[in-house]
Symmetry: C2
Subunit: 369 residues, 2 copies
């Protein structure tokens, strides 16, 4: 990272001040990794970084992590705890040290047991969910962030190209998924953004389908593949829907409608657009089509260290999106029992428009059988 | 699964009754998957299954998941919500329908934003963290569970064998990690239990180290590999520590101490043993050795659908462990700035003793350079 730890902690102190809160607390996850420059696991062990509006940050660290913690260069007070004695005394010591009366937390990341431990240590502590404000610091991507995301996307697209070259009728969705995963790692992924969705036929109508081991793809199927590589802390998220052998007239009409919605969203994207306007552009295409009853999801979400993050691209979200925001443009149409189509790009908002970071072709693709 | 959805929901109703609570709530994660027989993603979207002590269960489901939800066969009331209108009205409708005054939740899984949404819908709702009781239903593994876990372990061990055959001085930790991941998927993994730990030299002293791209392993290094495949919903978790070229006298002494601790824990394992007794058996070996100051962690944790679950194998945990419990036996010694050794098996507790599900050799292994 080009910024210093001290600079980054100051940003979170600023969030606390803006909210009129005494401090911000971070737990392992994307904000914690961004703040500290290192990632940590949590599992059953509480792990907490508290950045006050004024004064020095302090941390509650599982003792076994101290050897990794020293790599962060953190210079504030550290309250460690051991498995055998438990963590509650460390929470009490941390809160005694901090002397705060209100705390802003990441509601989408912090789990209830940590919330309870904080309140057990200090029953009058006022805790608010400031997920939007805390994670908001990640919304504008730096050039380094974008370069890492582009690496993740490039790996993902190479893996998709290789996977589609191997797809043939008779393979199970699960086999295709396994092939995709193998190619992702061969192409250099550090990990997966999420378990890939490989769904054919009626399964493609389930936006978060699981690949089936007992369904063999066959001529005429839609094949929806939604996946992404992680690289250097950033997560790609791409969907393409292709057809096996041929695409029916209905499939072609649905596909062209989804593609028009995807392009309509891109057409309105520039610095200052609201999340509402992007979703509205795509959704209006759907509503004017014969397929309005197949709308199931919002148009997309922010993308970066987390695969789903702010801003959420949906009607009613009037947030104006600045240059440097990256979002997924993923309109889709889904008819349960029939099939679904989704086309998802990763889009960087620029001053004058946008840069589509995903380059995989979007024309209707039929895999020859 | 051999049990019916209705049987499984009854078990959670029983937990509520035993706790004197009106209901149990589950969110996507291992209990949710076990209860429903299908796994779901959550991300920013709340998703909730509430099982009352008496009466029918009800669910709050993101609209886009309805096509997947129908696969569960759930017959209770479903309150769905769409991205564009938000979820709070669905929480209000769910709570109006349920008419409960207290709710037991999974504190290690439920996030604060869901906790807040529940309280916003019903401010007088009493919420307790019943992680131990709810997840306790997963502690005794069925024969099907054990078979799935064994498949995950077998895949993991084949991948480790192949990986160690390729290790050579000059490779980075990151390269070795990538090789391991590739072999895991080639051997049939559905996913990774967690991002593998591949740590050599001083990095092996960090129990949750990250593989370094800029450190080449060299003769004399300890090489600690902690990893696992996921298969059919179950997570393996194995650690072996090997040495490159040669093991110093100190390394040999530490290794033999860790192995003796591992064997001491196995020697006391049988149905009815307490978690305390297992940890104590291993820890006493360490405390009687010259390396007592290198103790950093408890001896292990339960293993199943989650890679860290109850029971936690540590002094002070007086829970008696029944036959069918699976735990990780992973004593280790870590000296920051020097090296660490951990030997981790996955152990099934039986009536008369235990069955070690991991079969990878534990003798000190030196990789020829």
């Amino acid at each position: 990272m080009s910024t210093t730890l001290s600079d980054r902690l100051s940003e979170y102190a600023g969030v606390a001040r803006n909210l009129g809160m005494d401090a911000v607390a971070l737990v392992p996850g994307p904000n914690f990794t961004r703040a500290l420059g290192h990632s940590f696991m949590s599992h059953e062990r509480p792990f907490l970084l508290v950045i006050p509006a004024e004064g020095a940050a302090a941390a509650l660290v599982p003792n076994l992590e101290l050897g990794s913690w020293e790599l962060t260069g953190f210079e504030g007070a550290v309250f460690d705890w051991r498995d055998q004695t438990g963590y509650q005394d460390a929470f009490v010591a941390l809160m005694d040290h901090l002397r705060i009366s209100s705390l802003a937390v990441e509601g989408q990341v912090m789990r209830v047991f940590v919330h309870h431990a904080l309140l057990a240590a200090q029953p009058d502590l006022r805790i608010i969910d400031a997920e939007a404000e805390i994670s908001g610091l990640r919304m504008i991507k730096t050039p380094e962030d974008i370069a890492a995301l582009q690496r993740a996307i490039d790996i993902s697209e190479r893996a998709l190209t290789r996977t589609l070259e191997t797809v043939a009728p008779g393979q199970s969705e699960k086999q295709i998924e396994q092939t995709l995963i193998r190619f992702l790692f061969e192409e250099g992924a550090d990990g997966l953004s999420f378990p890939p969705i490989v769904a054919a036929g009626d399964n493609s109508a389930r936006p978060h389908a699981h690949a089936r081991a007992d369904y063999a793809v066959r001529e005429g199927d839609a094949l929806l593949i939604d996946f992404g590589a992680r690289k250097d802390g950033f997560a790609a998220d791409i969907t393409r829907t292709v057809f096996l052998g041929h695409a029916s007239d209905e499939a072609q009409a649905v596909y062209e409608t989804v593609l028009r919605a995807n392009l309509a969203a891109l057409a309105v994207t520039r610095a200052g657009v609201t999340a509402h306007e992007i979703d509205d552009a795509a959704t209006c295409v759907f509503e004017a089509s014969p397929f309005a009853d197949r709308i199931r999801t919002k148009t997309g979400h922010g993308l970066g260290r987390d695969v789903h993050e702010a801003p959420y691209i949906m009607r009613g979200n009037m947030a104006e999106l600045p240059a440097g925001t990256v979002y997924t443009n993923e309109p889709g149409l889904y008819q349960i029992g029939n099939f679904g189509v989704r086309i998802e790009d990763d889009v960087l908002i620029t001053q004058d428009g946008c840069q589509v970071l995903t380059r995989f072709p979007k024309d209707l693709q039929v895999i020859s059988c």
